[in-house]
Symmetry: C2
Subunit: 224 residues, 2 copies
């Protein structure tokens, strides 16, 4: 349901769907934010939720969209993986707090049989499938490797077996998906985790209300 | 499971997840292609499936990725919405057959209260949220409207209510999602439907095996 008019003091927190939200919810609860019951209902198609805090609502969007909603000031607060923040690099997004959950690694992987005789230091021109074309371009440009980065939205692990490319850049948690597809990590790009993000303009105009939530969550994370 | 070695005569058909696949499956069956039982199992995480046809396998990927897998020759055949084909405009993708299912419209929508006093012919500079930034840019450039197209991966219908933008470009089927969010169509960009797509190079090197499936599906569609 669309609200007719938001109060200028209302705050909107953008959360991503999936695993990150599951790991972040206990932190939000410890900081005093309890979403309405519908938020946790599997299969719910609702996108906007009230909370126990008057004037604080939550929207649930794709993980890649959280940073966009916050960058354009549609949400003042958000939770996004550092992989997403690296990919978009929005100037309007300020990430004051590492929530230290939803940890993963951003890596380059290739088929095990290729890796056994391959030396990444010798790459000059490669093709890579990835959800993160900007990170991919920057990483290989910094290494002096010319990389054709093909954007895929999912199922990266299929690409080398189908000869779309021989390498992928993806986030890895346990490594089981790579293993099941005969792939091994050959380069580490970054360690990632969920971050609290804030719209910079909103932080300037409403330092008290936003600062309150940053500080509450900082205490929760430091005490954890 | 990754196959060790595909025969050069093996064919791979890329299908999208979700509604398009549900509507296309009956056509594939009528043309003689029956995927293994696991294909229809809800919640299955499998990505690659055998069929009753020796040497013909199916991969299930995101709708935006079907065109990419076919463009790079990782799959020789695919089914993609014409919205996806318009967005990517890959030269290597040939779309010989309109499957006439999964029909929808690509439209510009805005809040009903804005539309009542708004004249699209007077737009000069607008901001639009969309899954289709390329279509959006081309559409408004052709109309002489300067459009800032913000890519979102989902939940477009939230954007106007949160003042991310006032207009969205999205595909519309029944129109219920727009209505539930207080939005109305103000411009029609294109009618869309599912298309059979083929990799152009594969069609040159394997005209018989690919031509067979194009013709079988053509007969099914013409008889429907």
């Amino acid at each position: 349901m669309k609200k007719e008019q938001d109060s200028p003091e209302d705050l909107l927190l953008a959360l991503p769907k999936g695993r990150v939200a599951d790991e972040v919810l206990p932190l939000l609860r410890a900081a005093g934010i309890e979403p309405e019951a519908e938020f946790g209902r599997p299969g719910s198609r609702k996108l906007r939720f009230t909370t126990n805090v008057p004037g604080l609502e939550i929207i649930r969007v794709r993980s890649f969209d959280v940073a966009t909603f916050v960058a354009f000031g549609a949400a003042q607060l958000g939770v996004a993986g550092s992989d997403v923040l690296m990919e978009f690099d929005y100037q309007e997004v300020y990430a004051p707090l590492d929530l230290r959950v939803a940890r993963c690694r951003l890596v380059v992987a290739e088929p095990a049989e290729l890796a056994s005789s391959d030396d990444p230091d010798r790459w000059s021109h490669i093709r890579v499938a990835t959800k993160y074309p900007e990170i991919c371009r920057r990483h290989f440009a910094a290494r002096g490797v010319q990389a054709e980065c093909i954007k895929l939205n999912g199922a990266m692990e299929l690409a080398p077996g189908l000869r779309l490319c021989r390498r992928i850049v993806d986030v890895v948690d346990t490594g089981r998906t790579l293993q099941a597809n005969g792939l091994v990590e050959v380069e580490h790009i970054a360690d990632c985790s969920a971050r609290l993000i804030v719209n910079r303009s909103a932080l300037k105009t409403r330092p008290e209300s936003l600062g309150l939530w940053i500080e509450r969550l900082r205490k929760v994370v430091d005490g954890a």
